[in-house]
Symmetry: C2
Subunit: 226 residues, 2 copies
């Protein structure tokens, strides 16, 4: 096979981080070479899917939405199981946050690779971050490195997983969005664990986001939506 | 966390190889410590799911069936896309067989790990084989090693992926089934790419299976079902 052009696929959740990554990818690969993929995995907050669609449309890049019905069938996490309230608490048994969906990022990136495989795309971009990673082991650099090797070997195609936020704090992620001219776009995003837009301001996700903007000395445009 | 007992989860497709692996796992871990998982990923041949259920029931181990609706949404392979006939031909563009579902084994094992994570199981068993691997890059030893690292890091749990057939030819796989007392169980399995039981005998999968039994000098019990 001949080597294709440098095209990138961004895993877009509709949140602040993946939206910033979308603009990072546009900056690096050019708008015409960037597309996005979103997963409908049965998340309680359907608003995420709408935010992803709106962000992609506003950014002028295609957005594919793929269903994954498996996590709901697996059950047992607070983001898909309606019987578990979202909270900051850790699961007693695993000591991981109750919002941890085991394998979620591994699955997202593997399906993203399968989609990329069919569209001659070799660059995958994800907003996972080791800093402020809220105890999710699938966000670590080492995990992403191992996964990149697994998908490269497993599909016989040289994939690169880009993690532009890996070592950035929330403050630095806000600064990156400003630098990329993506700040206003963050009004279209969704972060709140309680599914609210405007955000609840109380949950761990809202508090992390608010702290990042505060430390960067920038007003979050999401607070000004009505 | 304390280390759990040595429990194993077998990825059971309802075919000859995974059925042999189920008996390998029973032999190694003890029947009471073995369970099986099957994926309903939209395969054309629904008979596979029935075979998996029958094999597990006959072996006396639990069988969980998890849905994956994503591959059908991705499209483009002969095992799930009804517009592509199953054949031995390679895709012109990728040079991989048209039956190659990009990322399939990576996804199966990652979801198996997510299921195992919730059930305190650390050993995963899969029937992938590098020998006779029909050109599927996700069956290779290196792919499995990278994936084992990705799921171990990504879920913060020490998983081991066992591939008892990795370096066995089809002949040696038949011999292993005989040695494990699992030969008669192979009458319950399904191999044919054309979805037939008794098998069509013509497709690549049937021919591979027949050659293995012939070389082992053993009659395939599947040929005697009515």
């Amino acid at each position: 096979m001949t080597k294709g052009p440098d095209k990138a696929l961004v895993v877009l959740s509709g949140g602040q981080d993946s939206t910033t990554c979308l603009y990072w990818a546009i900056d690096r690969f050019g708008r015409a070479n960037v597309s996005s993929i979103t997963f409908d995995y049965g998340q309680k907050h359907r608003i995420e899917l709408e935010c992803a669609r709106n962000v992609a449309a506003a950014a002028g890049v295609p957005n594919a939405c793929l269903p994954i019905d498996t996590f709901a069938a697996l059950g047992g996490d607070a983001l898909t199981d309606t019987s578990i309230p979202v909270s900051d608490e850790a699961d007693e048994e695993t000591e991981l946050p109750v919002t941890f969906v085991a394998g979620r990022n591994l699955i997202f990136l593997t399906f993203a690779a399968a989609y990329a495989y069919r569209h001659d795309v070799r660059h995958l971009v994800t907003g996972v971050a080791q800093t402020d990673y809220s105890g999710y082991p699938d966000c670590r650099k080492e995990t992403m490195a191992a996964l990149q090797e697994a998908i490269t070997l497993g599909m016989d195609r040289e994939f690169t997983i880009h993690t532009p936020l890996m070592h950035r704090s929330k403050k630095e992620t806000v600064e990156l969005a400003v630098q990329l001219g993506a700040l206003e776009m963050l009004a279209l995003t969704h972060t709140c664990y309680n599914g609210r837009r405007p955000p609840c301001g109380d949950c761990q996700a809202c508090r992390l986001r608010a702290r990042g903007f505060a430390e960067a000395g920038v007003r979050d445009p999401l607070l000004d939506i009505r």
